[in-house]
Amino acid sequence: MTNSSAVLNQKSFYEEGNTKAKSGLAAWIFSTDHKRIGLMYLSAIAIFFSVAAIIGIFMRLELISTGKDLMDAQTYNTLFTLHGVIMIFLFIIPGIPAVFGNFFLPLQLGARDVSFPRLNLFSFWIYITGAILVLLSLVLPGGPIDTGWTFYIPYSVRSGTNISLAIFAAFVLGFSSILTGINFITTVHRLRAPGMSWFKMPLFVWATYATAWIQIIATPVIAITIVLVIIERLFGVGIFDPSLGGDPILYQHLFWIYSHPAVYIMILPAMGVVSEIIPTFARRTIFGYKAIAISSLAIAFVGYLVWAHHMFTSGMSDTARWIFSLLTFLVALPSGVKVFNWVATMYKGSIDPKPPFLWVMNFIFLFSIGGLTGLVLGSLVTDVHLHDTYFVVAHFHYVMFGGTGTIFFAALYYWFPKIFGKMYNIKTANIGVALFFVAFNLLYFPKFILGYMGMPRRYYDFLPEFESLQFVSTVGSWLMLITLILIIWNLMHGILRGRKSESNPWGGVTLEWHTSSPPPLENFKVIPEVKHEPYDFSQLEDMKND
């Protein structure tokens, strides 16, 4: 491509930083460059994901047959708690916004950085502090926490383990999330390139924007809830203690007022990535741009009103229950709008099934199963039966891992050449996608059936009749391990040894593809002027001639 010559005489952000230190660790950890911060998040998150995944594999090993195989019940309790806490608070909630939002939001907007670059670095450090606190809670006397990632009252007040420290870590992580959210919202309002009106923004920007709003609206509620639990542990004020007049159910309300919207913090950015990848590989402008953009906001809004569907069996009035059930069904509408628009975009497109696109296909399949089983859990009658069973475990792995997790890989494979200026091995990548599909379903589909048969979640042992399906699931976890190693190895190999990539290998047209790969320190030589719709592929010819 012609702009490779431009790449040669331009320094990338790897070669030129904005810190005093010109190279080494200090040039990264003190850098306010949004791209470096994004990559630092990526490294941290990759480590946490790997640790939590390995914990998951060990849990599956314990579940390979009835009785005690590897560990006792208490160890299993701490492991599933740890697995959940790391996956939720350290991987999937910060995940896409912190890594790809940081890296690509300014690029897609045509900006030189986010609005508050120093605050951005600060958020990263808070994130790391939170992570260190989680680690400390494992090793300090008192022992690792064993409440499950939901920290339900009353056990979280009574448990002798290091709950206060661990949930304080969640508080700190929430603070990081809030500051990132504030930064992104301001950036979108203030730093759009000339000509980029709201409805010319790429859909990933829209999704990140909606997510940022959820981050700042919902997170303070969990923050105060956590503070209350800590106060309760330290001083016994009684706010959640029935013997002093308090109400433990109130804790669940407060917890889910945050944690349900948090589910949308996890999925919305992923949906944004999908809306980027599909047009690029279908060579066709997105179908229903406005509907997709606005459905992000609609999901963000309705997502606030459904929290109590996690509590159908906790004790609520029937009126409250059916209202929350109804509202839950409503969330399916904007989600459906998106899926139909994506499919319509592919219709009559000239589809180029490269690995990122295949990851998206994986996503649509797995996420649809996750979403539809969500409706099963959202309806009262069935939920009373399935609540707290493996059906729920299967459901949330399908939406979180099959949904957001898959798209995390899709985004990595899509933006890899942009970030690193190199290319991974396409064939290996394709094999990875296929293996992932098989491993995933082998690992989690049996859990739907197990849950339906009555296997409760968070148990380290089970009845003999569950044994064969549990075994299948464990075999699936081995295949998953191999797959993850393959996927990550391919990326690492690409970074270290991959061949040089063209600047725009997929033929994308959003602004990040208008600059060299990897981008220079301040992203653009001249801030581009936006004249086209975001997914107008007629500009591709002009871009080549630039």
Partner: protein, 211 residues
């Protein structure tokens, strides 16, 4: 708003990126999260007040309306002084601005001193979380005092943060790091201080005036 627009134009040739409207927008968003943080507590308060209206009433009698009123006046005045300090600086009257800012900080410290005496009075009367005296009372009263300590405590923490913040800002005004054509940091700190005031305006009637 027009003011800050003007500021941006005059800084347009400045190489360093500067966006005062953006900075204020960020601050407003942050204040919004603060309101939601307290919002969670107000929600808890509402639930228990609804559940135990009479006992909240009885427990409220134990609080001193006088101290509450004095503290309200102190905070309101400090909000005024911080606003004056901003206007003074914008009108290029640096020394007045410094005086007003110092006054704000002094008032904040006065508030904390008052709070200290109020709380220690409660402690010596045997009212603190987990005390025998308190546990012998009705559940509603236990919750009232629990919320009283949690909510005014969290608010006091915000006052402390405000004192530190305003002191730093004061230092910056003195050292000319904040000048009349670049007041956004001072304005943002002022906004924070107004928020602390605002939250108190709600806490005051909820605890001191419900007898």
């Amino acid at each position: 708003m027009t003011d800050s627009n003007h500021i941006i134009e005059s800084a347009a040739d400045n190489h360093i990126h500067r966006d005062d409207i953006g900075a204020k927008m960020g601050m407003w968003l942050f204040l919004f999260t603060e309101i939601l943080l307290f919002g969670g507590l107000f929600l808890v308060y509402a639930v228990y007040r609804f559940q135990y209206p009479d006992q909240f009433h009885i427990a409220g009698m134990d609080l001193s309306t006088a101290i509450g009123t004095i503290n309200t006046i102190i905070l309101l005045t400090s909000s005024l002084t911080v606003a004056l300090s901003i206007t003074a600086l914008q009108k290029q009257n640096k020394s007045l601005s410094i005086i007003m800012l110092s006054l704000t900080i002094s008032l904040a410290i006065l508030f904390m001193i008052n709070k200290y005496f109020e709380w220690s009075g409660k402690f010596s009367a045997g009212i603190y979380p987990g005390s025998e005296d308190l546990l012998s009372r009705h559940n509603g009263e236990i919750l009232f005092f629990g919320l009283y300590f949690v909510m005014t405590g969290l608010h006091a923490l915000h006052v402390l943060v405000g004192i530190v913040l305003l002191s730093i800002i004061l230092g910056m005004v003195v050292n000319k790091k904040i000048t009349y054509d670049y007041t956004v940091k001072l304005e943002n700190s002022g906004l924070y201080w107004h928020l602390v005031d605002l939250i108190w305006i709600f806490l005051f009637p909820l605890f001191y005036l419900i007898q």
